[in-house]
Symmetry: C2
Amino acid sequence: MVQVIRRPTIADVAEAAGVSKTAVSFAFNRPDRLATDTAVRIRAVAETLGYRPHPVARMLTQGRSRSIGILTPQALSVVFENPYFGTFTAGVAAAAEAAGYALHFISPLHGSLAGAVNRATVDGVVAVGLSAHHPEVEQIRRAGLPMVLVDSTALPSQPAIEVDDEGGARAAAEHLIGLGHRRFVVLAIEPPDRSDVDDPDGVPARRLRGYLAALAAAGIDLPHEAILTSLSTIPGGAASFAETWDAGQRPTAVLAMSDAIAVGAMRAARERGLAVPADLSVVGFDDVELAYFADPALTTIHQPIARKGEQAVELLLAILDGRDGPDDHEILATRLVVRASTGPVPDAVRRTTEGGASGRS
Amino acid sequence: MVQVIRRPTIADVAEAAGVSKTAVSFAFNRPDRLATDTAVRIRAVAETLGYRPHPVARMLTQGRSRSIGILTPQALSVVFENPYFGTFTAGVAAAAEAAGYALHFISPLHGSLAGAVNRATVDGVVAVGLSAHHPEVEQIRRAGLPMVLVDSTALPSQPAIEVDDEGGARAAAEHLIGLGHRRFVVLAIEPPDRSDVDDPDGVPARRLRGYLAALAAAGIDLPHEAILTSLSTIPGGAASFAETWDAGQRPTAVLAMSDAIAVGAMRAARERGLAVPADLSVVGFDDVELAYFADPALTTIHQPIARKGEQAVELLLAILDGRDGPDDHEILATRLVVRASTGPVPDAVRRTTEGGASGRS
DNA sequence: AGCGTCCGGTAAACCGGTTTGCTAAACCGA
DNA sequence: TCGGTTTAGCAAACCGGTTTACCGGACGCT
């Protein structure tokens, strides 16, 4: 005969202590409503029974879960490989913990982000990298779940934390132009979802606009084939650079949309006998720890990653508490950090291309 | 007059469709129990009302949350700063997502891990870096929550995924000893909780045992003051090395318990005019991406970080499904990866200390 | 003594779903 | 025509808590 272990319920405790369920509930949540010794006795009984209030039942009555969701358009297993996300999450966690909220990660389960959201027991959501006109976003809004967008242009009615990606990208390109470079290759981030490839609000599109604006201002044309796309990983960046180089393109400077891609490009370049920055300049984006410790240290665009996470949660909590409306948009600044991966265009190249404008060899 | 937006319940849908709550529930969960056209009609009504079943209510009746918890003894904001954790989490997420489970992070809220656990709506827990005899662990077990331990020696009755930390540490020390080093400093990881400082099952203690075993076998004594402790971060490692160096100790080799600490030590060493590995050899632990891209590339002990996360979840799910008992222990291997941060002991030092045994100057 | 308050505690409704009988009508074969 | 089997749908119980409304007794005051 198997001893069935059933978790004790509030009714079990009530019976064992000879009181009502109400009394047990009060003993835990409103001890002032009970005589001190009664409350103590009830808690003692509960302790010996190993009782702990069922969190789900508690949630149901209170209507709050005291946890917030992080919505990612990609599987967590890929997203967490990116150190950028770790830093962002640290910021999110700092603000959430300070307010006593736990973190719940929501990623497309079995391909359906909407389905995952419906399963999730959260009071609100921070969505990262999901554009405002995304169908999922619309569905979540309809479900009445408060949400703050990150890394996506804000809609008027949709709260969001914005970063000046375009300005940062412009600064990156201007830096290289100032060093005399005129043959570029852009290593872009591949959007997680095919449908987002041309999303004008997405981070890739915003950064591309910044690059192109600076290049155009300098009279430089960037041919279509000088824009390569890959996942924001070191291998992804390496593959992109390898593809363009092996196809015969001979850029002197690489505009990478993430530090991971930049480091991958440097690796692929080194494998092809190129010295950075003597033969090739590389500038990344994000300024993660990797950028500082890469060899050579990576020139990149700094953005306040952790701060972004904190702000998103703070805004979300403000909305949850009714302290703030959905129309609060803040734009965080970016800035160029010059390290060792960028330098003047090689003399040999300068002589052959003086006045040239193409990124092709 | 404010329009109060109340989320529609199953009763609202039932009324609007002119059926019972049961019918609505069946329309979603057991369409075969209903006439096809009725089910279709009900779902249409639900759609126009914007109804989605309340996940908490659903959990309550089904008794499952379809999410698993990650228990960390430190605040998430510090834990996520560590790239090691990102990789581990990626492994956890891969296995969890494959099985349709979401991830819920549980960290000590307001200092109480037990309190946080009680709030959490999870089917099971993966606890990282929590020793089996920790009071919190005992409490969770009593609460009947299935749990798998990681980075902690297993108790017979407590399922766990183990890594051969001691063997790895021994290999690290033997590598340096083989290069002729005899003056060491150990940069240890500071346990999150003061009460865990002397936990013999913890990762720091296991790695220290490995170091000491190798040193003892070579007849080398490690003085007490040659063991420094810090958080497992780059600044932490830098501070530790600075402290020991500035106190006058002159080691030729550093045994760092994590790659982050190792990189921090290299940084502090460089600031003090030391060349790695010419003047100082450094070996890390974990083999995170940082180790590969550090300058110089870090010699370290590789452990299968992501795989560890996957295995932990797989074991947990097996227990949840009743497919497996709590007595399944697997020990994952570690191995030395030699890169550029270690080299032979400097000649000058060798001459002066031939036969010496101390880590002091 | 009589009246109003406070104290300690309880019964029952409620949160929003799922699941278990049960019933009435439709269907079916002999 | 009639008993037996499906079929379609419903009422009510249930999950495990919280919260509201109420009640009896002790206390304090005039």
